[in-house]
Amino acid sequence: MSQDIHDWGVAETASQIAAKHVSAVEVAQHMLQRSQQLADNGAFLSLQVESTLAQARAADAQIESGAKLPLLGVPIAHKDVFVTRDWPTTAGSRMLSGYMSPFDASVVQRLAEQGVVTLGKTNCDEFAMGSANENSAYGVARNPWDASRVPGGSSGGSAVAVAARMVAGATGTDTGGSIRQPAAFCGITGIKPTYGRCSRYGMVAYASSLDQAGPMARSAEDCAWLLEAMMGPDLDRDSTSLDVPVPSLRAHLEDPREGADVQKPLQGLRIGLPKEFFAEGCRADVLSAVKAGLAELEKLGATLVDVSLPLTELAIPAYYIIAPAEASSNLSRFDGVRYGHRADHFEDLVDMYVQSRSQGFGPEVQRRILTGTYVLSHGYYDAYYLKAQRIRRLIAQDFQKAFATCDVIAGPVAPTVAWALGEKSNDPVSQYLADIFTLPASLSGLPGMSVPVGLGEHGLPVGLQLIGNYLDERTLLHTAHHLQAVTDWHLQQPQGAKV
């Protein structure tokens, strides 16, 4: 390989370090330096050179002592909603400015056990609420394809860091599309596994029944490496963690599907296209890129079938009731009593709450807390929360009907490419509407993935969304890997990565 260190993917970095072609410290130093150079893109909220180098030195020592771990020495960035002992965790909020957690999130710990070195903490929408990363209390993150555009959100910082090659892979969280949509906007690959696959312990909660961690990287293969390390039961710490074994995601990615021949490795794969995902709400440039991706999949042997997810539109109101309801309760702990922001001046206890929370939370978080409080209130609960839960169940049932005739569902991740910074920041509802294609899988707890399929308007990336059935992350990764084996969309470099 004649590439620079920062062009290596996760798997490549791991093998270069394992082969001692480069040390973990050299890789870490290179990536830290590059991240500092590119700091204007707002990807990182905290870089601590010494903490990262200490972990890299420890990785090198392990390599010297003959340790074999799949990700030994590979630097990874964590979205700032994962609590970390050695880096502050803010969740993009003023409320948690400078907050130091006494423990690492389970996902962080699992990755560390596989040898990962933490490069830093990435920018995100405050408490993961947003689709443009403009709700961060610490400034916007900029899309490496066009610095005047949003990177998507809420895992915007992770997407930028990966796309700008500041790091080979990063963790993200996805509640309503927060991994898939920024991955699509920044032209990288991201996967949200089945709800319960990754422990939520140590993830600052937004909407508990929807929040799910996942990896973001530049290829499906790299996502497989990271996701395999991140997943797994954590029954002692997360009651919603699934008690199912972790399948091998990395192994046999190259193999054709069972019974398929090497020329047509996806033979037998039925890809369902929900007609609601290809309706007029989706922009033409996005549709044509998505169709180009689907055409490649057909060439690989897959067959396309029509399916229907009739309640797709209702996913928006259902999500924007359920998620704020849970958020309003989850964020009650930020009361200025034990940690976090406390107002300097207040009259009494209630005023302390009011001042601290009004100062600590940004407008979108306050909006969702108010919405959530309202829909849970006496007299409104049945009309909003219960009805939304019913819709949620129906949407999940519709997916099961669709999966009776297909193995994977495909469509766009978002109706448009990345919009301009500030364009929608005063119009929350238009941002909510843009979540339409990612919300159904979130509400159903299904695994979903974003894979780059070329460029749309203004030369901005478009993501193909693949949705799998429960626990079937493997089919998503396998399908995406074969697509990436015959296309180079995922290899294209944005302007913002060229330093």
Partner: protein, 492 residues
């Protein structure tokens, strides 16, 4: 209910909500230890402090205790129950919500039965649900600030809710005592009321007989049986006074002040919060397999009511005694082991009801601390039965045994008792030869009495018995004296 006592023509209606702290090692949703009196915030982990990112994990031991309780009171154990969040802000509530059960509690229905006097009462239970306790706000010793102690936050509670089935403060207290007996008997709660481990809220209303339920006021945190009775009595007369003066009762939460003996409203219904209950998305529904219920059932001890019933049938002791002696597992075990050892259940019951309980109450100690153990009491009763001791002498022996305390395991109960009898010279004379000799002496010296007896004066016989006992220094077996004296007098 027609027999319920009226107060100034009003019927009293009482329902209870009791918070029993479950005797688990660790908290209901975290692994932090539970112990009373630890330094503030030393028994609170990240979960109890609601740090960012933490999640609750159900403590199986708390569920098991809820199942035990449900089975003990004949409830339905719900195969699926749901944890819900009760949302409100308070500094000692770290998450800003309490995890409780709302629509679907784990224990549903059931009943608690108890005696008031000789009348059996039954109070129906609505439900019992699992929930976590809050922390404590400390308002002293912090200048213009409050301190927060989260040691208690997350302590498992079982909230036990009754129907409004009680009709007097006596009944209410009897219910609370019976409930207290049940939870301590099956060991799910230590019952310590001072430490707040068993606290009762009483919902009290009054009405004219036959009318619809009156508006209730809830008396919070009654932490002794004495306060309970006083508080309810005060509240009842306060409500009747209000109604008699033409005022309506407004729903309210009140506190009882033991110093003044009065209840005082702390908040009215208008102030009551909207708790925005909704199912906790961090906890899947609690599923209890029937096998688990069967296992708990099999391990459940015999319950006090069943044990008392069995004693009445098996040992023919009075219902009242049986109920009294099944106050605790330990007392029940004391009775059974003494009764088995001496075969004189009735005598054991009499001794326990009299000498033993009197001394326990006077010294305020538990039966486990009684200086006279069950087997020593059995030995003492054995010495009465075999004629060695009169009842009077036995009481003296018991007193000595009580004073000297347990004699160690190597000391045989019978030899302990015998040693006291020996030392005190309390051995009863039953030897007919010796008694006959004394009778002869008495008859010779009391010719008048003999003549009176023969003339039909029964009283003279008692005088003669008294003389014989006096001569024997009280140690003659009175039955033997009676029999021999009668025989001698009637033979002449």
């Amino acid at each position: 209910m027609s027999e319920s006592p009226l107060v100034q023509g009003y019927e009293v209606v009482i329902g209870f909500e009791t918070h029993a702290q479950l005797s688990t090692q660790s908290k209901i949703f975290s692994r932090a230890a539970i112990a009373f009196g630890a330094e503030p915030n030393t028994q609170a982990c990240a979960v109890d402090m609601a740090l960012p990112g933490v999640l609750p994990v159900m403590n199986r031991a708390a569920v098991e205790r809820a199942i035990q309780f449900g089975l003990a009171v004949g409830s339905h154990i719900s195969p699926v129950s749901v944890f819900a969040r009760k949302n409100y802000f308070y500094p000692d509530l770290p998450k800003g919500y309490q995890i409780s059960q709302f629509e679907t509690p784990v224990v549903q229905g059931g009943e608690v039965a108890f005696y008031v006097g000789d009348r059996l009462h039954k109070v129906r239970l609505v439900r019992a649900h699992l929930e976590e306790d809050a922390g404590k706000s400390l308002h002293e010793n912090f200048e213009s600030m409050s301190g927060i102690d989260l040691n208690r936050a997350g302590t498992p509670l079982l909230e036990i809710v009754t129907e409004p089935d009680m009709r007097s403060s006596q009944e209410a207290v009897a219910y609370a005592k019976e409930l207290h007996k049940i939870v301590t008997w099956i060991g799910i709660c230590d019952g310590n009321m001072q430490e707040g481990n068993f606290r009762c809220d009483a919902n009290v209303s009054v009405r004219r007989p036959g009318q619809a339920l009156g508006t209730r006021r809830e008396i919070k945190n009654l932490n002794s049986f004495r306060n309970m009775q006083q508080a309810i009595d005060y509240e009842v007369s306060w409500q009747i006074d209000q109604l008699e003066d033409g005022h309506a009762i407004e729903q309210a939460t009140v506190l009882f002040n033991p110093d003044t003996g009065e209840t005082r409203a702390m908040r009215s219904k208008e102030d009551s919060a909207d708790y925005r209950y909704f199912p906790d998305p961090d906890l899947p529904p609690l599923v209890i397999e029937p096998e688990w219920v069967s296992e708990v059932q099999a391990a459940l001890p015999e319950l006090p009511r069943a044990m008392a019933q069995r004693w009445v049938e098996e040992y023919a002791i009075p219902e009242y005694d049986a109920t009294t002696l099944t106050q605790s597992q330990e007392m029940g075990a004391y009775f059974e082991s003494a009764a088995r050892a001496c075969g004189q259940a009735k005598a054991v019951s009499n001794w326990m009801m009299g000498e033993l309980l009197r001394r326990l109450n006077a010294q305020e100690i538990e039966i486990q601390q009684a200086p006279v153990g069950a087997l020593v009491l059995a030995a003492l009763i054995q010495r009465i039965t075999d004629g060695t001791l009169s009842n009077n002498a036995a009481r003296q022996v018991f007193d000595v045994l009580w004073q000297q305390g347990p004699q160690g395991p190597q000391s045989e109960p019978l030899s302990q008792v015998d040693a006291v009898i020996e030392a005190k010279g309390l051995k009863q004379v039953s030897d007919t030869g010796a008694i006959e000799a004394m009778i002869d002496e008495v008859l010779a010296a009391n010719v008048d009495n003999v003549a009176q007896y023969k003339a039909g004066k029964e009283k003279a016989f008692n005088a003669l018995v008294g003389q014989v006992m006096k001569l024997a220094k009280g140690k003659a077996n009175p039955q033997v004296v009676n029999a021999l004296l009668k025989k001698k007098l009637d033979a002449d």
